[in-house]
């Protein structure tokens, strides 16, 4: 009798614990969120948009060529006091409960970014259902909602398309948590990749958004895609890119596909005056040569390397000056380098760093190594 009683009890426990009935939630009861967009509406309200998967629209997508296939996603929006305040409004429109575990992307509309996003980050860490592996983008000249609604060329969703595109562009993985870590650090201002929508409703990567975290993570400006490559090179967020530049001594353009990028940032203290040395290295292959030079010859190769290095160096110098004078925010993390290399001096400097940064003496040295590519002298048929 006693044994039967124990058995019953154990049975009950087993049923409760192993089947998980208490928290039963099948995939067909969930609405998978792939992307979240944050916008500020014209009347100053926070608007959240989410991109949710419609599984029936995704299944067998390749075979159904007759245009009978339904949409693979839907974008819904709601306004609220903060991020989570919109969830009940979403839930009111959906028969399935939201599931954030597969969120790939967080988009921030330009108007909201200019307004500042410093007080909107908490939910993304605090909510236990949240996902820290999302990537994050700023939407230039537009709203996050519109990017989520756009239909990309290859992928069924913009959210995954944007993630894949980062790899294609040679950008290193930069997650939302990396952004948080940057935003919380002392001597570094965060920057985020940006995307914009063309008139034909396609998204285009369009450089970098520069933030000022000391004013509540406000967007202070943009860098175009070329400058972004350089800025990402300095901050080790770029794995490779292609650069094209005019070589004077060869009277033509050379394109170089860079595949391994290196950077070394040294801080020098001369008479209590800080000097930053940025030393960038890159290795790549010449993929187009319109000059009179023959890169298989050592002398000509040196000419190409030197001129390419020099022009790149000048461009980067210009970029740093522009950021120093125009945006006045230390996106290169020079402050963090000072913090790391001169920790004791940093303690007194960190408070005025935003005033110090625009006046910093920064010297740039670029060293490019080129492989000649598949042919010797340029293939040119001149009239």
């Amino acid at each position: 009798m006693k044994r039967a009683g124990t058995l019953c009890f154990v049975w009950l426990l087993m049923i409760l614990s192993t089947t998980g009935c208490w928290n039963l939630r099948e995939p067909n009861q969930l609405a998978f969120v792939l992307g979240t967009g944050l916008d500020l509406t014209k009347d100053g309200q926070l608007q959240i948009s989410i991109q949710i998967v419609i599984p029936s629209g995704v299944d067998g997508g390749q075979e159904s060529g007759g245009g009978t296939k339904g949409k693979s996603f839907r974008v819904i929006s709601a306004t609220g006091k903060n991020v989570y305040d919109t969830v009940p409004s979403f839930q009111a429109q959906l028969s399935r409960s939201l599931f954030l575990g597969h969120r790939r992307i967080i988009l921030i509309g330009q108007r909201l970014a200019e307004h500042g996003i410093g007080n909107l980050l908490d939910e993304f860490i605090r909510n236990p259902q949240s996902e820290l592996r999302s990537r994050i983008y700023v939407v230039k000249n537009g709203q996050a909602k519109d990017i989520l609604s756009a239909e990309p060329i290859f992928e069924p969703f913009t959210s995954t398309a944007l993630v894949h595109q980062q790899a294609t562009l040679g950008l290193k993985r930069y997650y939302f948590r990396d952004f948080l870590s940057d935003a919380l650090s002392q001597g570094l201002q965060p920057m985020l990749p940006t995307v914009r929508l063309t008139d034909s409703k396609q998204f285009v990567y369009s450089g970098t958004a520069v933030f000022n975290k000391d004013e509540g993570l406000k967007l202070v400006g943009f860098l175009d895609d070329k400058d972004s490559f350089y800025a990402n090179w300095i901050t080790n967020r770029q794995a490779g890119f292609a650069l094209t530049s005019f070589v004077k001594r060869g009277n033509g353009n050379v394109s170089l596909k860079l595949q391994s990028l290196g950077q070394r940032i040294r801080v020098k203290m001369v008479d209590k005056q800080i000097k930053i040395d940025v030393h960038l290295t890159g290795e790549g292959t010449i993929v187009e040569n319109n000059t009179d030079l023959d890169p298989t010859k050592l002398k000509d190769l040196h000419i190409i390397q030197d001129e390419l290095s020099e022009t790149t160096q000048r461009s980067i110098q210009r970029l740093i000056e522009k950021v120093q004078k125009q945006y006045k925010t230390d996106i290169f993390g020079f402050g963090e380098r000072v913090h790391q290399q001169y920790p004791n001096q940093w303690k007194t400097m960190k408070r005025d760093w935003n005033d110090t940064f625009p006046e910093l003496a920064v010297s740039v040295k670029v060293n490019l190594q080129c492989n000649p590519g598949e042919n010797n002298s340029s293939v040119k048929i001149m009239p």
Binding site: L132, R177, S181
Partner: protein, 364 residues
């Protein structure tokens, strides 16, 4: 009663300490010592080993006797018994605290619609089963299996996240904190490395008590190495500023694992292993508390106490209204319970034992 082997002691220490430190003590330490928390963990390991040494050495002076027995032999019947009371309070309340805090950790993450008391009841059922059916030897054998699994899972989590690390997060070393801060950050983990003084009881059940010292030091050593690595990895992935903001930073760390968009959501494995280890931990406390209660009240069969102790633990756990109370208890543990039970009384007992031994030797 069957006896515990040396390797069972090693794994018992590892299993019952490692998850508590990695689970709930990394973030509080990072809040204090920032990027130098890995140094704090090493310092904590040293302090913890010293405190463990004290407790084990004291037990070894009284072979085959548990705390209640040798304290009565040393201090007389009444004072000896009185001295055990704070230990019992500590073990019972700590069990309730762990039961409540682990369930509170589990609930929002995985089973948010399950009532808290169900989770607690399930854990309680496991620990009662383990303790009642096999006693300390069962717990020892259980730890011998679970311990290596824990180490394995931890190492896998370190390897899989190696690609997300950035060593710049550790810079500058030492300059931002200084040794006072590093020491302050090491205090809480140090107390956990020493464990909640269960060795005062457990050593008596060893087959070869003379090996207790080397085995317990090995156990603490393995724990320190794993905790150190876990702390280092958390810092390398999140950086000190973000890690300090995340309450369960190691768990979040596991959630960041993402290899080829394929190996993801490893947290589910970690939760599994955590449940194993928390069961071991709670069972050990339950055994120690029940056994010593039986000794105190001269109950012949300690298993009879099982009718009383688990309900008491469950009621206490249910009565904890919210997580801020847990924080208060935590503070109480560090400032009162541990100094009394982990340092004060063992030191007193140790001095008395040594003096008595000297006295009896000089008589001869």
């Amino acid at each position: 009663m069957r006896k515990l082997s040396g390797s069972q002691i090693v794994w018992m220490i590892v299993t019952t300490e490692i998850v508590a430190i990695i689970g709930i003590n990394i973030t509080p330490a990072i809040l204090i010592s920032k990027q130098d928390t890995w140094i704090s963990m090493l310092v904590a390991g040293g302090i913890g080993a010293a405190l463990t040494f004290l407790v084990v050495h004291l037990s070894m002076l009284h072979p085959n006797q548990t705390l209640t027995q040798f304290s009565q032999a040393l201090l007389g019947k009444w004072l000896g018994r009185l001295i055990v009371l704070p230990y019992l309070i500590a073990w019972y309340t700590l069990s309730a605290y762990l039961l409540r805090s682990f369930s509170g950790f589990l609930k929002p993450l995985l089973i948010d619609r399950t009532p808290l008391w169900i989770i607690m009841l399930l854990l309680l059922g496991l620990m009662v089963y383990l303790t009642y059916s096999a006693g300390i030897t069962g717990i020892g054998r259980y730890c011998e299996i679970v311990g290596p699994i824990i180490i394995f899972v931890l190492i896998v989590s370190f390897i899989l996240n190696a690609g997300n690390t950035d060593w710049h997060h550790l810079l500058p070393v030492y300059a931002d904190t200084g040794w006072v801060t590093i020491l302050r950050g090491s205090l809480r983990p140090a107390l956990w490395f020493a464990g909640p003084f269960t060795l005062l009881v457990v050593v008596a059940f060893m087959q070869n008590p003379q090996k207790a010292l080397s085995k317990s030091m090995l156990g603490v050593g393995i724990t320190v190495v794993m905790v150190f690595t876990a702390t280092l990895m958390v810092l390398l992935v999140f950086g000190p500023n973000l890690a300090a903001k995340i309450r369960f930073s190691y768990f979040m760390y596991v959630r960041t694992i993402d290899i080829l968009n394929f190996i993801q959501n490893m947290d589910i494995f970690i939760v599994f292993v955590w449940i194993f280890a928390v069961t071991a931990q709670l069972s050990l406390f339950l055994f120690v508390a029940s056994y010593e209660t039986a000794q105190l009240f001269n109950v012949k069969n300690w298993r009879n106490i099982i009718w009383f102790s688990p309900p008491a633990i469950l009621i206490m756990a249910i009565l904890i209204p919210n997580e801020t109370v847990l924080a208060i208890y935590d503070q109480f543990w560090v400032s009162v319970i541990f100094p009394v039970c982990g340092i004060g009384i063992p030191l007193l007992l140790w001095i008395v034992s040594v003096v008595k031994k000297k006295a009896s030797e000089s008589k001869v």
